[in-house]
């Protein structure tokens, strides 16, 4: 199985402070589902930032889609970013755009023609249960609705990796399960999913998912999947 993400002795330090992440070595495989857990401040968001290319590491090697992401020229980053879907912890919806336009954003950035994006965006709105809120601005949406728009935006471009930072943090348990089912469906289509969460109970909701645990910037590997390719998930 070819690895989709490879970290080798990766460290991250902000400014002159101590290392937020230290000696991270792991491999993510295509089509797998990972939960990244850890207490607040353990470095989950920092690790995700490295994954979605918002940050370069202070040391170590990161290979993404088979290419060195640490020394990759800046001009090539947008092309790689389009292959990664991101659900931000704080949603980061564009405030002056409607729910429809926010979800359509990755497609428009990728140059998809207007006539080709109307249907998929409308379907995605229905999928996250916001079909009737297409024209609503983020300010008029509840926290849960904003989160669903953020998730729809992350998955609309059928990314190869989906990185989600606490995606169920603002939704009720029923919606949390629906969202996880959405991620699973995407995973079934071949997308590698990495979900950062401090809710350990979510793991049981996704059979066969692997767990990466961050503790004080270091990574423990309870399921052993980070050294060896995970077994195929039981999708039954």
């Amino acid at each position: 199985m070819n690895e989709i993400v490879q970290f080798e002795n990766v460290g991250l330090r902000y400014g002159a402070g101590i290392e937020t992440l230290s000696d991270l070595t792991f491999t993510l495989y295509p089509g797998s589902f990972y939960f990244l857990t850890g207490a607040s401040g353990a470095g989950k968001t920092s690790l995700l930032k490295l994954l979605y290319l918002a940050q370069r590491p202070s040391r170590g090697l990161i290979r993404l889609f088979g290419e060195d992401a640490v020394t990759m020229p800046r001009e090539r980053l947008p092309g790689f970013r389009r292959r990664i879907g991101v659900v931000f912890q704080d949603f980061r919806l564009v405030p002056h755009l409607s729910a429809f336009d926010n979800i359509a954003l990755p497609l428009r950035v990728a140059g998809v023609k207007e006539k080709d994006l109307t249907t998929p965006v409308a379907e995605m709105l229905d999928w996250v249960g916001l079909g009737d809120r297409a024209e609503a601005r983020p300010a008029t949406l509840s926290g849960g609705e904003q989160q669903r728009v953020a998730i729809a935006r992350a998955v609309i471009g059928r990314p190869e990796i989906l990185v989600a930072d606490e995606p169920t943090g603002n939704v009720d348990p029923e919606m949390a399960i629906r969202l996880l089912q959405l991620f699973e469906a995407l995973n079934t289509l071949g997308t590698t999913i990495v979900v950062a969460t401090h809710d350990i109970h979510l793991l049981s909701k996704v059979p066969g998912a692997q767990m990466m645990k961050l503790e004080k910037g270091g990574l423990s590997d309870p399921t052993g999947s980070l050294r060896n390719p995970p077994l195929p998930r039981d999708r039954a």
Partner: protein
């Protein structure tokens, strides 16, 4: 550049647009207005200097300096006849004594009773006879020497002075004013660019979050900078046209007032069609300047983030 204005509407909405809501179009309008005035002044001085120079470059004055009036008259007449026969000379006019006296009268003052006559002073001053020449070509050393050689046997004390020598200090002043005006245009262009830099940085700061999201979704620097370029270009064009209209109105008004003065040099401060063409191009040049500046600023700022 055309592609700048055909960005699809949905892309344009990525950054909220607020025509005339910010100070940018008004700042550019003021800058373009001042640039139009400075350019008009510079061009008017250029044209005036050129006109005066063209008019005088082929003119000269011959002075016949002779104390004996009869001899002076004879020498003047002979010299004029010789000059008329020269191929180099196009036009010869012997200035009547009255005209010479009229020319000199203002420098001699009025008579004691406040009248127009000079109190008999002119009768006591041995005025030279003057011959005004218009040559077929601009006067150089060679032409002057030919004229001197031609009349020296007839009037040994004759002096020939090219008219351009008399007006040279005025021309030098006009040229200085012209360069000062163009210097002002350059300074205003720099100030406009600085205003655009400040505006672009402020806009970047305002939309930092949106830009960050577009970046992380795979947006390129070019895509993002194009949005700012377009917005600033439209602001600049709008402000520029406003500045041009106000500036052109002032120029026309001043032109009419100067024409009414009827003064020689000042009257020639009319602008030719090609000067108007240059002035008309200022808003477009301003827009290009704003666009290039905005692009450089935005690209430079974006390069600082990953």
């Amino acid at each position: 550049m055309l592609s700048l204005f055909v960005i699809p509407g949905h892309d344009r909405r990525l950054i909220p647009e607020g025509r005339l809501s910010g100070p940018m179009p008004w700042v550019i309008a003021i800058m373009i207005f001042l640039m139009v005035l400075a350019t008009a002044i510079g061009l008017a001085f250029t044209e005036a200097g050129q006109n005066v120079s063209d008019q005088l470059s082929s003119r000269a004055t011959v002075q016949i300096i002779e104390a004996n009036p009869d001899l002076k008259t004879q020498q003047t007449s002979d010299a004029a006849a010789r000059l008329r026969g020269m191929e180099l000379v196009e036009e010869v006019r012997v200035l009547p004594t009255q005209e010479i006296e009229d020319l000199i009268a203002p420098w001699l003052g009025q008579s004691a009773d406040g009248g127009q006559d000079t109190g008999g002073l002119l009768e006591d001053i041995p005025l030279p006879a003057l011959i005004d020449l218009k040559l077929a070509q601009p006067i150089g050393e060679k032409e002057l020497e030919a004229l001197r050689t031609g009349i020296r046997p007839l009037a040994a004390s004759a002096r020939i002075e090219p008219s351009s020598a008399l007006i040279a200090p005025v021309i030098a002043l006009v040229r200085s004013l012209q360069w000062i005006a163009f210097g002002l245009v350059i300074l205003l262009a720099i100030a406009t660019a600085a205003a655009v830099i400040i505006s672009a940085r402020a806009a970047l700061n305002t939309h930092k979050e949106t830009i960050g999201v577009i970046h992380l979704l795979g947006g390129t620097d070019r895509q993002i900078s194009r949005l700012f370029q377009r917005r600033i270009a439209l602001d600049a064009l709008l402000g520029g046209v406003l500045g041009l209209i106000c500036g052109a109105a002032i120029i026309l008004l001043l032109g009419m007032q100067l024409s009414a003065l009827g003064s020689g040099l000042v009257q020639s401060l009319d602008l030719s069609w090609y000067s108007w063409l240059i002035i008309g191009a200022i808003p477009i040049l301003g827009m290009i300047l704003a666009m290039v500046t905005a692009r450089m600023t935005v690209m430079g700022a974006l390069k600082k983030i990953l």
